[in-house]
Symmetry: D3
Subunit: 119 residues, 6 copies
């Protein structure tokens, strides 16, 4: 059975490929710049992914939340830390963030399940 | 001469006092919860203030940016780290964040100047 | 057949249960504060739910719109009053609110149908 | 001495006059529709102004907050009711609304002072 | 097989019909004003649809993006021009716009496919 | 006497210089990408500036509105065309855009006055 995370990954990767095929110089440079923003700098990538998660949560974008949660779990943040970051997003962004908190908590559970199933 | 940071601090503190005097139970509990969100938990306060800064920047609120920059400088983030966090906000939020980036950079400079003048 | 309202209610209740199980002190206090905000105070709960509906509509959150519509119908607002409130949201928020107006009108119809079917 | 409310009123009225002078059919019709949205309908104007206030607060527009507070005070909402409505906005919109809550509370105080000075 | 564009068109047209049946004077006037905003004026309809597209993209509303893309393709904008407009939206709105860029690119492909299949 | 447009230009240019002096690679590349987005491509620069204006208006950023109005006037858009574009922004974004419409109309008048005074 395909999980919603797999569907998201497939769609994201198909459409990114399509966008690169279009070959718009500005769009491609933006995608590169976006990738670069989370690489090692004055801050380490792990911290930056958490910043990306909270930014995505207060701006209320489920796809962006999923993307950064995948990266955050990869980077080694544990559940308690992710919940604590999401709590900051909840306080800053208010109850309008709650549906996205539900989505984020579900995504974390799905990611942990994937890791367990794959082990 | 009063800097814009001093004006902000004075106004913020006067109005917070006024709001506490009003004594609305829900509002007061929200203010307490807001304070608590940045205290030690699974994440340390220093990390949480940086999350608060990025959330404020992508939501484009200068007063919130100033508040979290004051806290971030207090918590020990250096300029390069703050710029790197603001770069994440810029990429996530786009060019509409630029006027707030200008404001944030000016605030960082003002805070460092205050620290130097006070030493 | 399960309506989209039933799906929403089930998902919302499952994920809220999961969130309470996580037991993050800040998140739990926020949920309590959120509930308290719509209880009797200087304004009555019925008025507050209408405020919550309009806030949800201008912030363009379908789940929040559904939640507050369920509460508004429970509180006794009739269709004409709900449409008049949604019209305020439409004027304040502009045509970008229209897809959420469609969703809201459909939700109202579904809620009235549920009430009729259940009678 | 001119208060910031007087400055707002003067600027608003000058610029509205300028906008009507421009005589763009769409803009003029929108302004009329905006006025009509708060007039008597299934909901009374007093309730609608409170909806407008909360919508303005969660969308974080100080000028809109001031406009609707002027109308709300005119319509007879007392301070406790206005604070209770602003508390809903604070919960829905989160801490990013706090600077606008400060502004709103100050505006309410200015409006009451005007009423007292004028009596 | 029904494409997601057909589903959108059907839902949109059903719910618009339902909204007109409700016959709220303010809502109906807003819908008329919305239609009028894209008609010939100082700017031609083709330019205005592109403005509507970019506004929808930075405000991150997929239904609105689809609506304006349908209009833009009808008005004669070619793919390269639409991508160039979406690039402006991406720069202004940041990476949070990327999921909507994916959606928009897919919609453009679906619209071109419809045109080819129908020829 | 210094107009608010001159103050904006001075502050913008000072802070941009300060930001370039900081020399954050990501931020600098973003600024370059932002400039490039409005240069000749599938769409001409004149059309793109109008897109930038409408995006800035619906996102409700006065500094961004001023920046794009300066560019739009330079690019040769006349007042009627600018008003027609702002009308699209007003319809898409709703009455919450009105304070920014006032600001934009004032900026257009200031820009035309500058052009006349300088002739």
């Amino acid at each position: 059975m395909t999980s919603r995370l797999d569907e998201y990954r497939t769609y994201r990767s198909q459409m990114n490929e399509r966008i690169f095929q279009i070959d718009h110089r500005g769009v491609k440079r933006f995608f590169n710049l976006d990738t670069a923003a989370y690489q090692d700098g004055a801050l380490d990538p792990k911290t930056k992914e958490l910043l990306g998660l909270v930014a995505s949560a207060v701006l209320r974008c489920n796809d962006c939340i999923d993307y950064h949660l995948i990266q955050c779990v990869d980077a080694g943040w544990d559940d308690a830390e992710l919940y604590d970051a999401l709590n900051v997003a909840l306080i800053v962004g208010g109850s309008i963030v709650i549906p996205h908190l539900r989505h984020a908590v579900e995504t974390i559970d799905l990611l942990r399940k994937e890791a367990n199933d794959g082990s």
